[in-house]
Symmetry: C2
Subunit: 140 residues, 2 copies
Amino acid sequence: MNDSREVIAGMLERYKVACFSKDIDAFAELYDANVRIFDAWGDWSCEGLGPWRKSAKAWFDSLANERVLVVAERMEISASGDFGVAHGFMVYTAVSESGAELRSTRNRFTWTVEKRSGTWKVVHEHTSLPLDLKTKTALR
Amino acid sequence: MNDSREVIAGMLERYKVACFSKDIDAFAELYDANVRIFDAWGDWSCEGLGPWRKSAKAWFDSLANERVLVVAERMEISASGDFGVAHGFMVYTAVSESGAELRSTRNRFTWTVEKRSGTWKVVHEHTSLPLDLKTKTALR
């Protein structure tokens, strides 16, 4: 793995830890100020870190007595120059304080990262679930 | 716009023309042999140009007396070194032979492109519609 790919792999680890610890500052730190998010849920897009931070904060706040365990599957990372990409699947599992699994969902996950002023940041995130062509509901 | 961004903008135009003319060879030419597709419909992923070409061919074949007009909205293109990214919205409108609009759908659209052996190819495509959190159906 080259240096840039290691940095991006490290960012994915920081993402998982930020979600598990519901640490909104550590989470927001990963993203560029002008990030464009295509999130799986609720909106066509979220433009800029301000609204995205608010949205993540609302998610963390909704997890009163729960934590979310994030596990990557078949994640592929590549990088060249000041650009990098990661794509794969992310499984989000909500667990209770006693460690019981409450529910789980799998997303397709794409990150575009850029090195700006010496620091790598996520500039675009696209997460989704595929749709059934007939019912137009999420495939499980 | 730098040269790489112009190349990627040109690829997006070729994509639109290939869809409109249902030209499977011109369509397949855009993609890398090892492309990974996260398509909005039907499957979690499609790995490799073989299956992706088959899927696009089935789509074109299903459009007996129709054509599909593809229009990009708010497409952002960036590139550095041998890497490029495009993300925005794509509106696919089916039109009859007489030019009447039959139906239309909008996707979020992300392309990752790489220059390999001197030629730019799409190595990852992610298209999706956002989901309503309550109903788990596609947002319109």
